[in-house]
């Protein structure tokens, strides 16, 4: 968890993995970066990507969780920081249901029957 040597490199870390991205250092401008953390319930793994093309791969967990919550901001009493947040959202991701697969198969079958007729 650190920002490195001031050469316009933004580093976001998860566990011991440093994830570098660029942001602006031109006060008072601010350069926004879009991030996406995608969780796969089957594998139990989450992967991080960003709008700058970063494919950060699987993100290490920091533990198993003790409560149910989402937090953003400056969460530690031991450090300093300042960020500007434009938006944040967490959505469940729909999976193709068996019904959808069956409908597609039925439609395909219907299409083939019509072509043969």
């Amino acid at each position: 968890m650190f920002l490195n040597d001031g050469t316009n490199r933004f580093q976001i870390t998860t566990g011991g993995n440093a994830l570098s991205q660029d942001v602006g250092n031109q006060s008072p401008s601010v350069h926004f970066v879009d991030y996406e953390l995608r969780y796969d319930s089957q594998s139990g793994l989450a992967s991080l990507t960003d709008s700058l093309g970063g494919e950060h791969g699987v993100v290490a967990r920091s533990g198993n969780g003790a409560t149910n919550r989402v937090v953003w901001g400056a969460s530690s009493s031991a450090g300093q920081g300042s960020t500007t947040w434009n938006q944040l959202a967490i959505n469940t991701v729909p999976e193709p249901s068996s019904a959808l697969i069956f409908v597609m198969a039925s439609a395909g079958s219907l299409f083939l029957r019509r072509r043969r007729a």
Partner: protein, 152 residues
């Protein structure tokens, strides 16, 4: 063939039910474009987030409309904190265990972290002392499942 067509129509009509559990769990929307000069960002507390301001130096630990396309969170101390939190309901937590989900957020790091009336902003964070940017986090926690701490 008619049976196939009828079955297809019925199943298509049933699709919304199969996707009933998909959707937004929680969010913050600043309501402004992410650019310099864009003022009027919404206070997260107006959208169901609670603020934790444990500390004794409100001049240096605060949330505010940045005027630069979002809500600014600053902790200019090495003893305080300032963050927003939303507790997940049991149903939300259950969904985040059993279903795939995606967290999307847009954020920028500030150079001029601290500003006070009569003093103005102090460009002492990113450019001058980048080591001071070590207390920014997105924290996603589901009990007995996982804890993700994305910090920068």
């Amino acid at each position: 063939m008619r049976c196939f067509a009828l079955l297809s129509v019925l199943l298509l009509l049933s699709l919304p039910a199969s996707f009933a559990s998909a959707g937004l769990l929680l969010s913050y929307e600043s309501g402004v474009a992410g650019a310099v000069g864009q003022a009027g960002a919404a206070d997260p507390t107006s959208q169901g987030w609670s603020v934790n301001t444990a500390g004794s130096a409100p001049d240096y630990s605060f949330g505010q409309d940045s005027g630069m396309g979002g809500w600014r969170i600053t902790d200019g101390t090495s003893r305080d904190l300032y963050f927003y939190q939303c507790d997940l309901t049991s149903s939300q937590a259950s969904l985040m265990q059993s279903q795939d989900w995606a967290a999307n957020w847009t954020v920028g790091v500030n150079a001029d972290a601290v500003g006070r009336p009569g003093i103005g902003t102090v460009n002492d964070y990113y450019s001058a002392v980048p080591g001071r940017q070590n207390n920014n986090v997105l924290w996603i926690e589901v009990a007995n499942e996982y804890l993700y701490v994305l910090s920068y």
